[in-house]
């Protein structure tokens, strides 16, 4: 039988130990941040980070107002901080809008602005009535989760943390398994 404690195995175990140690320490904050934001995002509705607007409609989609009209109503409804430098006479400024999320089944459109709070106005597609106005905190958390909040290229930070976590898991498993394998073989030899 071959010696289970070969130099090759010893080298690999040593590498696993140091990778586990170094990556574990270096990736701590990134992983802690990703974990916390991940849990918060999983419960974003329950924690009130994302508004839940209950709305039922019988109006056909064909009766919807134009996107321009809906956006204008959202502009009027949101606080001035969400649309800096906007006047009624300007009409809709697409540069101030992040996105318009149309929900035909619910009969509304969510108009999200590009401000600090990610303010969102929920507007009825058929009547144009503003159903809700408020910040979307989950958008910030999503950006923090991905690292996007810190600037361009910082998305690689979450990639690095994910790779570090995978390597740490594999090396940790090996460090737990390796002594047991050696002990098992030694018992088998006896």
């Amino acid at each position: 039988m071959t010696d289970p404690n070969t130099p090759h195995r010893r080298r690999w175990t040593r590498w696993a130990f140091y990778s586990h140690l170094w990556l574990g320490v270096v990736a701590t904050l990134a992983l802690a941040s990703i974990s916390v934001t991940g849990v918060l995002l999983n419960h974003k509705r329950g924690l009130g980070l994302m508004p839940d607007v209950p709305h039922e409609t019988d109006a056909p989609l064909a009766s919807s107002l134009s996107l321009d009209d809906l956006a204008l109503r959202a502009f009027r409804a949101v606080p001035a901080e969400a649309r800096p430098g906007w006047n009624e006479a300007d009409g809709v400024k697409p540069g101030l809008i992040d996105r318009m999320d149309v929900r035909p089944r619910d009969g509304f459109v969510k108009v999200r602005f590009r401000d600090r709070d990610n303010t969102e106005a929920t507007v009825d597609l058929a009547t144009g009535k503003v159903l809700h106005v408020g910040p979307r905190n989950d958008v910030f958390l999503e950006k923090l989760h991905s690292g996007e909040i810190f600037g361009d290229g910082f998305i690689l930070l979450s990639d690095v943390a994910a790779v570090a976590l995978a390597v740490t898991l594999i090396t940790g498993y090996w460090l737990w398994l390796s002594p047991r394998l050696i002990r098992g073989r030694e018992t088998g030899v006896k």
Partner: protein
């Protein structure tokens, strides 16, 4: 977030723990003063990690260059607190030994 803040964040997130890890090698065999420096810096960095995590999450809105406390806790603390921790521990050692 400014370029300086981005640089500080990377420094505090990756470089400071690397330096701490390297200086922690065979720490038990080093002098008492060096051990104190090391543990002071580690304590400072752990406190900074908690502060930075809290500052990055609350309030859950975008960072502005005018957010002074957020910049201080979320970015600067990761670099400054390990140094402060090491200094406090070092001065404590000097006072004890003298």
């Amino acid at each position: 977030m400014t370029t300086l803040h981005q640089l500080l964040l990377l420094l505090g997130l990756f470089v400071v723990p690397l330096i701490l890890l390297m200086s922690g090698h065979r720490i038990k065999r080093s002098s008492s003063a060096r051990q104190r420096l090391f543990w002071g810096a580690v304590t400072g960095h752990i406190v900074a990690l908690l502060l930075a995590l809290g500052a990055s999450l609350w309030p859950p809105t975008g960072w502005l260059p005018t957010d002074t406390w957020r910049g201080a806790l979320g970015v600067w603390s990761l670099v400054v607190l390990p140094i402060v921790g090491a200094l406090v521990a070092f001065l404590g050692t000097r006072r004890t030994t003298s």
